[in-house]
């Protein structure tokens, strides 16, 4: 579905992404692992049109080229991003944030059902519909951001470190929710530091280092790969299995 080939990206003279090729299949869940500064966020930003790519990048969603697509057109193509730092509308209420999630044309219709789903995933949001998003706690804001992205009825949902700052119970619930979302037929492209839990729901994974893809494999293979163990799991098993 999503095909990225030879993606390069520069910030000034700094080459943040170097010839990156990544693909996400229909209804597939793909996770991207990498140290801080490896370029994971930049990759997601490039897909959603928020940063300009350079070189001979090719990028398409089901054949529809994403190159030079202005960022506001991307949601309509069926790609939603939960960005780093959440990017919610702080001065608007939870309800309004969710309503805006359904702003893209493709999201009109079936709105009520999706709202239902979101409140089901995050009951806290249902309680706080009229609260100003800015005044919610860090974790609550993350829920708003994911809810908003889901409201756009995406075919591909990209999440940039969604578990950041969430209580363990919420992380568990969130990944359970992602699992359910994925079962509704939405493809997921996930950037996570919480490696084990993300590999647990993923089909495939990529390893990134200093702007390059340095490895690619199925999730189960990655889970047991000693190199991955060494680099990303700190050589230990985490508290989740």
């Amino acid at each position: 579905m999503l095909d990225i080939a030879n993606l390069s990206l520069r910030y000034g003279r700094h080459l943040a992404l170097d010839d990156v090729s990544v693909s996400v299949g229909d209804q597939e869940t793909v996770v991207i692992l990498g140290a801080n500064g490896a370029g994971k966020s930049s990759l997601l930003k490039a897909v959603s049109g928020m940063v300009k790519t350079s070189g001979q990048t090719a990028m398409s969603l089901d054949g529809l080229s994403l190159l030079n697509m202005p960022p506001h057109k991307v949601p309509d193509a069926g790609i939603a991003l939960v960005p780093e730092g959440r990017g919610i509308f702080g001065e608007l209420t939870v309800d309004e944030n969710l309503m805006l999630g359904a702003h893209p044309q493709r999201a009109r219709g079936g709105e009520a059902a999706r709202l239902e789903l979101i409140f089901d995933l995050f009951p806290k949001l249902a309680e706080r519909r009229k609260q100003m998003a800015r005044t919610m706690s860090g974790g609550e804001q993350q829920m708003v951001a994911i809810g908003r992205a889901l409201m756009s009825n995406p075919r591909l949902l990209m999440l940039d470190e969604p578990s950041l700052g969430l209580a363990p119970i919420v992380v568990t619930e969130l990944f359970a929710a992602l699992r359910r979302i994925r079962e509704t037929g939405v493809a997921l492209l996930l950037v996570e530091q919480n490696v084990s839990i993300s590999l647990a729901i993923a089909d495939r994974g990529y390893l990134m280092e200093a702007g390059r893809i340095v490895g690619e494999n199925t999730a189960s293979a990655l889970m047991t790969d000693p190199a991955v163990q060494q680099a990303f799991l700190g050589g230990t098993t985490t508290d989740l299995s």
Partner: protein, 290 residues
Amino acid sequence: MIVTAIISGLVLGGTYALVAMGLTLQYGISRIMNLAYGETIIIAAFCAYLLVSQLGINPVLGLIIILPGAFAFGYLVYGLMMQPLVKRSAKSGTLEVDSILATFGLLFVLQGVMLVVFGSNYTSYSYLNFGVQIFGATIGANRLLAFVLAVVIGAALYLALTRTRWGTAIRAVAVAPQSAPLVGIDVNRTARFAFALGATLAASGGVMISMYQTFTASMGVIFTMKALVVVIMGGLGNLMGALVAGLLLGLVETLVATYVDPGLTLAATYAIFLAVLLWRPSGLFGKAAS
């Protein structure tokens, strides 16, 4: 007496509110601190005057010509002047300073053109200048019309902005322009639209004002500053705030003139404004400071 004072205060405040609402759109949503805002008002006033005096078209009909013109003008100004600045400041974050400087230049250009075209004289014409009785108070029909229009336009805009997805999208651009594209909002188009809409409101204010007030080509600044005071007092980007603050200032002005001393009306206006800010540092309806 008190009824008369209150009614004429509200009517006066209506114009303030109308004028301020346009500015709050331009500043609150397009993030352009438009120092040339008042000039738009005066240009519209001159246009209304021309239509009346040259073509005999009454100003209310004139709105049909002037408002689309103002919209186009705003659209053009944003596209030509502001858009490059907005683009440029995406990285540097200097939009506020840049827009102050650029619109300061625009102010001079517009004022200069008006001085050349219309001269520096006082201009006025007479339209609907007769009294209407409301609750026993006599109000100029022209002022009343301005008030009604202000309320209608204000209410319509308010409802549109708060009750529709379209309006919420506009507010989203106001609060987090960098996030708006994530939900498919074209920030540039929205900002441009809001700016043009602001210019349209300014023009409608100008037409209203021209019906009962004498104006000159150099008077724009007075309106810009008055509008800014109202906008800030109400809370930036908040239409309801602009409406309430406008009416409040109108009331204060007439009540002070009636019961205290007309010499203190402006002092009272500013005193109230300052007091409101001391009490609520982000204006009446602004977000509370954390």
